[in-house]
Symmetry: C2
């Protein structure tokens, strides 16, 4: 068989091999969290490092550079051209950094992260900074190299790894806008909620009943158990491969809601993966678009749909069936329980109203940190000031519930934080678009007619994978690029309506 | 660092990489059987095939030939030389066959095995032979090529893949001896047992209680749950890696004994793997010696120890705790239950007394089949005659419980069957050696002092891995090479004593 696109075909074959070998790596990562006995860890780490090195060698093979160049000249379809664009992006990300920098980063982050585990409970900011300075220096070095290769600013070049196309200019505009109305909105919601009584559910909630409930609910949400599993791990995540999605959750007998809504969250990730275009699986164009887009799916499931009053009404009888009748399970009370807003110190415990405050703060610190405008020593004072400004809480001297609370900085994941809030905003934007297309959306959800939601997400997000830039995907799906007004309208309707 | 063994060191590095990547492959195989949802199968098969091809490329890399040659000339320690010998054996096995033959065999066995799944229940011997003829032709081709490379006879060259060093000359002697006394022994045992009353346990036996019991028992047997797991799969096996052993079992609510003893069997495999020498893991010299040696461990656990009257006595109270009190759980009755001997048609259902008859029959057919002395058409008549001779049962016209009962021939696993019975014989030989060293062994087992058994196996078998040839290992462990007299003595003591 002759082909008019030999270089493209070669590349496509390479990425299919990467996908297949990546399957084994991904499965091993899931198993490590969900199954692996403790004494298996050393061998597993060695096996996964060997595979990581192998995958890295494949994507840094010198012949790829030439193939990518030649493929540009070949008569490609639009879809193939989009695939080539994504191949190029992945290739550039893997080839931009010298091996020695990658190695030094691995050592520094592993040292910093390991020490952080004990420094955090000990509130030892000073000890942390010693290691973190090295992580930051290497992060800046990485940012500088990526900046040269991409033509982006240093911070934007780091963010591009998670959220291609997003820039700090756009973020400054979007977060700047949210910053204006968020503190006032939080205050109004808290005032309103202070006048509402909420009944807490009474545990314990047996793990077996929770597990059955979770399976029921994610079944309602369309997760395909023939092509995926739900297991237990310390830190819930969604892993595996699109063809076999492995979600995890954790159960606490005194609180079922955290585990249930956490599982609903992972189900959004899971359905995105399960519904990526099958015929192109293995090609970069068939991968999920970005971290924010992924989070827009988990939050569409957890916040837009899962915490929707119409959905909560349908949840109530399931809770009674699982745990017996309780006053707390009355639908209105359940809805109030699930939407309680509180100013807190901890990002991962934050509700959807206060969450963006935690993200904006981190963004406003890590961007100048990477650009070299501030130093680690400046973080605590900035943290205190911004927490006071955005949430009105005092964090002075409390490092462990302040800048020591996240694993992201010790692990050099600079540029990742914004994706969380971008995801929440995109999710609100998708549901606003759905409501424009289907004015009776809320009644449908209340009737349990969830297929309309899934169909919209499948058509507009899941099936589109990485075919378009994120802006183009958002325009096609919702008629506009990211617009935080929808997120504001969502919060106002749900919390002040 | 300079080294005086550069070629050996290169080889050793290659095998460490093979071990690490093989870890991921092995884990994926276990997951496929124990966890994978049905729609994940295609992607998993593609991923594992990609990895198999990669591992094959690594071990057929042309530079290995030269390195193996140069390493022979290097100043190696005895252990390194043993490792080099095993590298050479693996390399030869992977390099002896042209890729085209391997591909044709894959197709033929997959076609034959697939059709066999329906041909067996349909008793369709004629249909089976059509496909099997092709499998056999390729098996003979493989045997001829391996024979040239190894200087062994054709059948011996195939057997060498599973049981290095074993020859049909030795097998003829060993099986010939067993053949003399086995039919008479079976008759005497059946006569004796016909005068004994046995009470059957009354189910159902809830799966959760069975699971708890299994864990208790394999814990007593020293399986390290910090370095392995027990899960459920359709066909029980012991997989994973030495650092993280994955055993599986299956539960049937109407019969706990099959699952319990099956798990005890896998525990023997599991402890062998868990106790291979840690400092050399990844090197061929640190791998389990052979299939028969592996089976000698599972049968040491299941038959020698697990069905030992002293051990059965300790099992009885555990059964009562798991399932409530039953007359069947009285230790003497339990022992009789576990050692009932019956002449049957099916190998996998056979007890330890009749089992060798099934193996000898298969060996006496597959050896001349490979050597070209008989053809597939000759199998049914030979099967009937030998079943009558060895077990006195009539199998005429019953192909599905005759030559169609095993997956081995459709899958071209010629030379594998003998390992099962060799394992049983070695197991008896190990326990005879233990009794010579510890005349109070049986009292110790009855007291629950199992450590002496495990210590002996660790010192003599597990820790020795592939350091010695099998004959040398047997001599070091028990003072002699394989001697079926110990197996005979074991059967006589247990069944006629």
């Amino acid at each position: 068989m002759t082909t008019t696109t030999p270089a493209y075909d070669e590349l496509s074959g390479t990425w299919l091999r990467l996908h297949r070998l990546g399957h084994l790596q991904s499965l091993a990562g899931w198993d490590q969290a969900a199954n692996m006995p403790p004494r298996g860890n050393e061998a597993r780490a060695a096996a996964m490092a060997e595979m990581a090195a192998l995958l890295h060698r494949m994507v840094t093979d010198p012949k790829l550079s030439d193939q990518l160049g030649r493929a540009e000249q070949e008569p490609l379809s639009d879809l193939q051209r989009a695939n080539l664009r994504e191949m190029h992006r992945q290739w550039r990300a893997s080839n931009a950094l010298p091996e020695s920098l990658v190695q030094r980063q691995k050592l520094a982050t592993s040292r910093c992260e390991h020490a952080w585990r004990t420094q955090r409970p000990a509130n030892d900011w000073k000890g942390f900074v010693v290691n973190f300075r090295e992580v930051l220096a290497l992060g800046r070095e990485e940012a500088a190299l990526l900046s040269v290769k991409t033509g982006l600013s240093k911070y934007d070049a780091l963010m591009d790894r998670y959220e291609p196309g997003m820039t700090s200019a756009q973020l400054d505009r979007v977060f700047g806008e949210v910053r204006q109305w968020l503190p006032g909105l939080i205050q109004r919601v808290i005032d309103k909620q202070s006048r509402e009584a909420v009944i807490d559910p009474v545990g314990p909630f047996p793990q077996a009943a929770q597990q059955t409930l979770c399976r029921q609910v994610i079944g309602m949400l369309g997760f395909d158990f023939e092509a995926g599993r739900l297991d237990v791990s310390t830190h819930p995540f969604c892993g595996g491969v699109p063809e076999d999605v492995r979600m995890t959750t954790r159960f606490r007998e005194e609180d079922f809601l955290g585990s249930l809504m956490g599982t609903v969250h992972e189900t959004g990730h899971g359905r995105y993966e399960q519904n990526l275009p099958r015929d192109l699986l293995g090609q970069p164009v068939a991968e999920a678009r970005s971290m924010a887009l992924h989070e827009s799916q988990s939050l569409s499931f957890e916040m837009q749909l899962g915490s929707h009053p119409g959905f909560v009404k349908r949840l109530a009888p399931l809770l009674r069936a699982a745990f017996g009748d309780q006053a707390a399970f009355e639908a209105g009370n359940l809805q109030r329980l699930m939407t309680r807003v509180r100013r807190g110190l901890i990002r991962v415990d934050a509700d959807e109203v206060t969450y963006p405050a935690h993200i904006i703060l981190r963004y406003e610190i890590e961007r100048p940190l990477i650009e070299g405008e501030i130093e680690p020593e400046d973080i605590p004072a900035l943290w205190d000031a911004k927490m006071m400004e955005l949430l009105g809480v005092d964090t002075r001297g409390n490092f462990k519930d302040g800048p020591l609370q996240d694993v992201h900085w010790p692990e050099s994941l600079f540029g990742y934080f914004p994706c969380y809030s971008l995801g929440a905003m995109y999710a609100a934007q998708w549901f606003a678009a759905m409501r424009r297309a289907m004015p009776d959306l809320d009644e449908r959800i209340a009737r349990g007619d969830l297929a309309v939601v899934f169909d919209w997400l499948r058509d507009n997000i899941w099936s589109q994978a990485s075919r378009w830039t994120t802006d183009e995907l958002a325009r096609r799906a919702s008629g506009e690029v990211l617009n935080p007004a929808h997120f504001k309208a969502h919060l106002e309707a749900r919390y002040l309506g």
